[in-house]
Symmetry: C3
Amino acid sequence: MIIPLKDLAAHIGAELRGDPEHTVESCSTLELAHDGQLSFIYNSTYIKALKTTKAGVVILSEPLADECPVNALVVENPYLSYAKAATLIHQKSKQVGDIHATAIIGDKSYIAKDCVIGPNVVVSKNVSLQSGCTVSAGCFIDDNVSMGKNVTLMANVTIGVGTHIGDNVTIHPGAVIGSDGFGYAPLGDHKGWQKVPQIGHVVIGNNVEIGANTTVDCGTLGNTIIGNGVKIDNQVMIAHNVKIGDHSAIAGCAGIAGSTTIGKHCTLAGGVGLVGHISIADGVHVTGMTMVTHSIKQAGVYSSGTPFQTNRDWLKNAVRFKQLDKLTKKINQLIKSQKDD
Amino acid sequence: MIIPLKDLAAHIGAELRGDPEHTVESCSTLELAHDGQLSFIYNSTYIKALKTTKAGVVILSEPLADECPVNALVVENPYLSYAKAATLIHQKSKQVGDIHATAIIGDKSYIAKDCVIGPNVVVSKNVSLQSGCTVSAGCFIDDNVSMGKNVTLMANVTIGVGTHIGDNVTIHPGAVIGSDGFGYAPLGDHKGWQKVPQIGHVVIGNNVEIGANTTVDCGTLGNTIIGNGVKIDNQVMIAHNVKIGDHSAIAGCAGIAGSTTIGKHCTLAGGVGLVGHISIADGVHVTGMTMVTHSIKQAGVYSSGTPFQTNRDWLKNAVRFKQLDKLTKKINQLIKSQKDD
Amino acid sequence: MIIPLKDLAAHIGAELRGDPEHTVESCSTLELAHDGQLSFIYNSTYIKALKTTKAGVVILSEPLADECPVNALVVENPYLSYAKAATLIHQKSKQVGDIHATAIIGDKSYIAKDCVIGPNVVVSKNVSLQSGCTVSAGCFIDDNVSMGKNVTLMANVTIGVGTHIGDNVTIHPGAVIGSDGFGYAPLGDHKGWQKVPQIGHVVIGNNVEIGANTTVDCGTLGNTIIGNGVKIDNQVMIAHNVKIGDHSAIAGCAGIAGSTTIGKHCTLAGGVGLVGHISIADGVHVTGMTMVTHSIKQAGVYSSGTPFQTNRDWLKNAVRFKQLDKLTKKINQLIKSQKDD
């Protein structure tokens, strides 16, 4: 979308320093941007690139404005303002109202008139899609699924029976929503496992984004719940009956075991694991690959793991870890014996 | 399925205390269940909910029976009995014998008459599906695959060349069975890698369940083998030539490297990693996110990792880990010097 | 493919000891191979199997040649030579030039004449596939994708907008290339997140292999780059703007956060995690499940984590880890007080 800087300034609430009629039509980095492109800088690390940029306009904050050799949009929070500007510039011109000839729509399913349904999409029975939804090639939507407005399913997504999805939700390719939870009762006597039917559903709020090849299991009884504004990255595993509070964000490869509840405004970094049946307070941030084995009652930042080293050093230290309790006892003994002296 | 309590009691071997003609048709929690629903309680944590439940019947054990205000099914193991009862009540009424018009069936492939093949399914050549199989939308089954009775493939599953699947197996959406193993020979002189052809197959026993987006690689030579009754959760990675013993269960995000053998009746919790070419005895249980770097010869419970803390405390301790060997030596020196005194 | 030993010897540069006219047509293990099969041995562990093998020919190195009871192909590097020989023997006889009737090819897309496009494949607009490409059932290729020669997409692969793929690349089932990166700007005041449009692409070099259900995100601005000869296993997560140097290999379940750069000839073992915005030198090898939290400037082997133990022992040691800093201080105090004596 071609847009004059005066309109861009109004859209993001920026002070424009430069030519209000100049237009941009895409975004790029400070180094690569040309005259028709928008760029941004949010900290002084890249100031050298700023000084030589050929961008049509740069979004930046006041302290850097004087260093900008081209048009500038001065804002308080350049990263956020860039996100808003780039969203406007790169908005997709949507087709409207097209159901591909190869799409299969089941009995009693309702597709609002302006939805776009791609090739080889299969929509089962009693499904409803409200206005503005887009379903890309190869998606499968099972019985009794309901979607709000402006839901986008990218290619090859699977939505299980009875899933409810709110408005403005995007689900990336290969994600599976509403698969069976992992629930079995031991049969005893080494006879194996009896499956516990997984008859609950997944309920997803508004403004949620779910990454590629992520899986969200349905509830065993009751539902798995993803709150409003939750952002989930690729290859995240969310087990049955998990509840995620509004606006929490979960990075790639994290795994959350069954019936665990996460508060609002939490962040889990990549590869974090949460055991089942625990509760995480609002405002908790967990650093990468941390193993969370019990509930967290207070907001804050939490971590586990050991720092990496050369394998040679690590081997020496790791083997000592196996004796850490004995070591501690030795020291306590030593201290005690000193005091006794 | 609507079922009178007397039939339910007979099916699960329970003592019925209440009205044998009362019927239930679905399951719910103690809190939410109504008169037409079954619920259960398996420990006294939920006794308050039991006392006020409006369920049609509750499955419970003798000690809690007196507290039950509604019909009761008294059993020894309420969780297992619930699993069996819920399976009966929620059994799906299956369509039979339907091959969707858009399904593609390759030459010399046999599909038993009562199988259900969904839209856009592609079955290649020389495939055989025995009685009662269901293949959902978008699945791809490559050449020379054989499936036993009552195999269910959920949507968008991929089954690679030559895979053999036993009876009563369920594979959840997005799973990939029989993909190439990760095998390369170094070319030397920094020239990169020569692929080792992955010409073995995957052999899956009876009563196996495999989770959404899980991957099971074929063998390099010989086969990758999943034993009878094995249960595998979502996003598990099983490499080439792995062998998993009967009735073992593997939770989400676990990864098992090539040629490793797991015994019978083992459990791996979420995020566990096993290196390649090791052997795990029968009856081994590994806790979440544990890294298993060598064979385990004895049944038991095994763990690794460090407990999580506030990031502030963790940083202090983690940095000390890097000096743990030196610390241990200091202490041993100290003790020695004391003894020498 | 049936091939006489004299041709096999020439192909891999081996010295043949035995019958040059003898033919083999497939590969197997020393134990299972019959007269028409090739096998190999690369270390003396399996010498017992060598002595009794019934293979048609065995690839081995000089020191083991005297123990071989059947035809032998003597080479310097048996594993590499086996890989080359097996690749020749098991090469697939390719169909040529077949676009399945159910495939959908968008406007302005070019498919070279000898490509094979499977059932239910969807190719969008402005896509180009050079000579010898194979696209299996259910793949989706979005707008403006370009592929070089001999690219193979296995079933149900998704390729996002603008992805560029080089020659001789294989992508395994369920992989997603070019999905959106996980980029959001905080809105402040607990209002949640503003999406940052992900408008870069993925650029994949020549001779790359990408595993089943792996995801590679597109760049935010600029591209995510996978170098020549890179091998990526299953369920690997590669975030936006990551760069991977030539011939590096990444094993299953590894995760690489945004904007991280990996050098050439590196290996990451299974489950390794790299934080974002760091740089890994050429020739770095990271052992399984290691957490890499800052840049690595020198080639070498790196590790983190703790060794596994029985849960009973681990619990005792793990709790001590939480006091490791205090313990260290106690010891330093003790040593100081001794010196002061």
